[in-house]
């Protein structure tokens, strides 16, 4: 049984990241897009933690905690926008949200 190296972590993280990007690009429901963004962020966290282990210091883990906080804030703001938007348009389907072109 070989030792689990940084490469293993990076592969898993890359796979998570791709899954997240695909979710963001393809899903219509804003809630699921927000969940996919969480996947992306957690892939990054995994990278940071893996590099922290590889280098033997705690900088990467510190960043990971920052990102967890950031993800919580982002989820709160995103869900707030979502509810405000639902009150106006009675939908959370991202296809129908094209106001940015103006």
């Amino acid at each position: 049984m070989t030792e689990i190296t940084a490469l293993h972590y990076l592969v898993v993280a890359a796979a998570l990241f791709v899954l997240g990007v695909i979710g963001v690009l393809t899903r219509r429901n804003v809630v699921i897009i927000l969940m996919s963004i969480e996947l992306i962020l957690n892939a990054v966290n995994l990278n940071l933690v893996a590099f922290s282990r590889m280098w033997g210091n705690l900088h990467g883990q510190l960043f990971a905690i920052f990102i967890v906080v950031d993800a919580a804030a982002e989820a709160a703001v995103g869900l707030g926008i979502l509810i405000a938007f639902f009150r106006n348009k009675e939908t959370i389907n991202v296809d129908e949200i094209d106001l940015l072109k103006w």
């Binding site: 990007v21 963001v24 690009l25 393809t26 897009i33 991202v94 296809d95 949200i97 094209d98 106001l99 940015l100 072109k101 103006w102």
Partner: protein
């Protein structure tokens, strides 16, 4: 002092009768109506007699007025209703329900209640077969109330209440036969013409209040007698006096407002006798005599009064010469006699004017009541052309009317002789320039008066019967209730003049002496230099006596000549008798018969009944023209200006909308939008596409760098 202190009860007696008729009249029997309505007037008459007797004891011949203020009617005396007088000081607006008795109002009080009582009694006979019996007596009592208020008022405001009240009753009684169009038209005419005068009266009274600061006669007399006036004051007083005289012209049927009185004959005959001959139409004379202190300060107003009076006298008499309706002759006679009264007032002979009012009340009431008796006998016929030879068939009426005719024509020693000659003599005497002409006009009028009155008597009572057989068969003397008052009035017509026998005929002129205190005080203050006709107070000298006698003989001669002419032409008039004036001067006859075309002239000038191709003529036409001018020219110009502004605004809007906004503002925006169109194609708004492009770009970079 019981009667004097309760003088306010006098108008209330007839008011009570009127109220009874108003509330319960419909349900009352005729006998009850008679008892109430005649009863209250009899009570008022007796009360008035006792009051005047008490007054003579009270005044002791000094003419000191008795004033009884019952309560404050308008204003409060505590300064809540103040106004600024002409001299800048503040006066309180105050009119009391106050009663004034002095020699002047005593005379009116006696003959109004006295004649009113006789006419009420007469009406019980005359109106016996008419519908609306209680309504008639209710109105008559209301009239008595108003007239007594007018006479006894102690200020102009309360006098105005009576003044309007008698006008209302006149309207109601002229229109008594309201189902007849002519009667309701006549009632409207009387009311409307009177309103013109009333407007003058109220303006005059307010001018006096503004000047003197009071409405009370006693205050105004006192101030007018004991103040110094400068030029401007005299002008204001002249205007006030002329305005009051306009009121008098309306109520007392003087030129040019006399037109309502002949038409007022549409009312029942007792009404014509009471209101339109004996009492109400003398209200103007009363008011001018009451305001004598003011008039004496305004010489030009006095002259106007004299001239209008004289012209009215001769004008109305000339119309009376040819009228065929028995009541219309008497109506024009009334207008003419009222002219005499104003002539007397205008030359400063107030006592003579009042004396003529007094005597005229008896003989003119008698003439009207007599004519009513004739009409009664003739089954309603009023046209003298269809009468004749009635003297034997209705003897009492004939005798009494004959007496009245002698009285009005001025045959001594009947009442009219003394009063009319007093007026003519005073007109001659106060010869401050032009007044002998007034005497001449009065003299001519006396001649005409004798002629038309004799014509009336001869056409009615002499000659051959000209009525139809049916009517002739029904001729009968009137009942006692009608002939009784005629006899009483005939006695008065004979005797009333003896109260004022002038000194030149050995009399004492008790009437003038009684009135002297009312007028003498004011006569004394008239500025002697301004040409005011000074009221003659000094005893007549011997050198004047001859002149006075010759004038008297002249006027008696005129009466005899006028009567003689009428005898010659009418005394044996058969069917189709010729009218002498129509034979000798047809144009003049047409002119007189059509009343100088005054009504037609008024139609052209004021009422707007005449049209020229759809356009009204006269004042109404001018009103319509100015209304048209306002609507079409003034408003048209305003609207055109508005239209032009709107057109400019439209243009400016267009400019703003299409040039400024369109080209200059929106133009660059449209340009920018067109130019930016290709750029916008990249930005279609779906966030996921942006993200996809971004990912694709990143992948592209990654692949490029990895594989390079």
């Amino acid at each position: 002092m019981f009667f004097l202190n309760n003088i306010w009860l006098i108008p209330l007696f007839p008011a009570f009768g009127a109220a009874m008729m108003f509330f319960f009249g419909r349900r009352l029997q005729k006998a009850t109506v008679n008892a109430v309505c005649v009863g209250v007037v009899v009570v008022a008459f007796l009360f008035a007699c006792f009051t005047v007797v008490e007054y003579t004891h009270f005044a002791h011949g000094t003419g000191q007025p008795f004033e009884k203020i019952v309560y404050t009617w308008l204003g409060s005396g505590d300064g809540h209703l103040n106004f600024v007088k002409r001299d800048g000081t503040t006066a309180s607006f105050n009119a009391d329900a106050g009663f004034l008795l002095d020699p002047l109002s005593s005379i009116w009080l006696l003959f109004v209640t006295g004649v009113g009582m006789l006419i009420h009694i007469y009406s019980t006979g005359y109106m016996a077969h008419e519908g609306g019996y209680y309504r008639f007596f209710g109105y008559m009592n209301l009239f008595m109330f108003s007239m007594l208020t007018l006479i006894l008022a102690n200020n102009y405001m309360l006098l105005f209440v009576g003044w309007e009240g008698v006008g209302l009753c006149s309207y109601l009684l002229i229109g008594f036969y309201f189902h007849r169009k002519s009667a309701s038209d006549a009632a409207n005419k009387a009311f409307i013409v009177n309103r013109i005068g009333d407007a003058g009266f109220i303006l005059g009274a307010l001018t006096l209040a503004w000047f003197f600061g009071s409405f009370r006669f006693t205050d105004i007399n006192e101030l007018a007698s004991h103040s110094n006036f400068v030029g401007g004051d005299i002008h204001i007083l002249t205007i006030a006096a002329l305005l009051l005289f306009v009121g008098a012209c309306g109520k007392s049927a003087q030129l040019p407002l006399y037109v309502w009185l002949p038409d007022a004959m549409e009312g029942p005959t007792p009404v014509s006798a009471l209101i339109h001959a004996a009492t109400m139409v003398t209200a103007g004379v009363y008011m001018v005599a009451r305001s004598n202190a003011v008039f004496m300060l305004a010489p030009s107003a006095m002259k106007t009064v004299a001239i209008v009076g004289a012209l009215t006298a001769v004008f109305a008499a000339s119309i009376g010469l040819v009228q065929n309706d028995i009541k219309r002759v008497l109506a024009y006679s009334t207008v003419s006699q009222l002219g005499y009264m104003f002539l007397a007032l205008g030359v400063g002979a107030f006592a003579a004017g009042v004396f003529h009012v007094f005597t005229h009340a008896f003989f003119k009431a008698l003439l009207f009541l007599g004519s009513g008796s004739v009409i009664h006998a003739m089954s309603g016929e009023q046209d003298m052309r269809n009468m004749g030879d009635l003297r034997g068939r209705i003897p009492t009426t004939f005798k009494t009317m004959f007496v009245a005719t002698l009285a009005i024509a001025g045959i001594p020693p009947l009442a009219g002789f003394f009063s009319k000659d007093e007026i003519l003599w005073q007109a001659w005497r106060s010869a401050d320039g032009g007044f002998p002409y007034l005497w001449l006009i009065g003299f001519g009028t006396a001649l005409m008066t004798a002629f038309y009155m004799a014509r009336l008597i001869f056409l009615t009572f002499y000659g051959k019967p000209r009525m139809g057989h049916e009517v002739e068969h029904h001729i009968h003397e009137s009942p006692k209730s009608m002939t009784g008052p005629l006899v009483v009035l005939a006695v008065c017509s004979v005797c009333a003049g003896w109260l004022g026998v002038p000194a030149s005929l050995g009399g004492t002129n008790a009437f003038g002496k009684f009135l002297e205190p009312v007028f003498a005080r004011e006569a004394a203050v008239a500025p002697s230099t301004s040409g005011v006709p000074s009221a003659p107070q000094e005893p007549v000298g011997e050198e004047h006596r001859g002149l006075e006698w010759s004038l008297m003989i002249l006027s008696v001669g005129a009466a005899v000549v006028g009567g003689g002419w009428a005898y010659r032409y009418y005394a044996s008039a058969g069917k189709d008798y010729p009218e002498p004036i129509a034979v000798k001067a047809p144009p003049i006859y047409t002119l007189l018969y059509n009343k100088w075309f005054v009504d037609e002239a008024y139609d052209y000038a004021f009422t707007g009944r005449r049209k020229l191709g759809g356009i009204r003529l006269g004042a109404m036409g001018a009103g319509e023209a100015s209304s048209w001018f306002d609507a079409k020219i003034i408003d048209g110009a305003v609207n055109d200006a508005g239209w032009v502004t709107r057109a400019f605004a439209t243009l400016s809007t267009w400019w703003d909308k299409w040039i400024i906004d369109g080209v200059c503002v929106n133009g660059p925006a449209i340009l920018a939008r067109m130019l930016s169109y290709p750029a916008r194609l990249f930005e279609w708004g779906l966030v996921q596409w942006y993200a996809l492009v971004m990912v694709a770009g990143l992948l592209g970079f990654g692949v490029y760098y990895v594989w390079k």
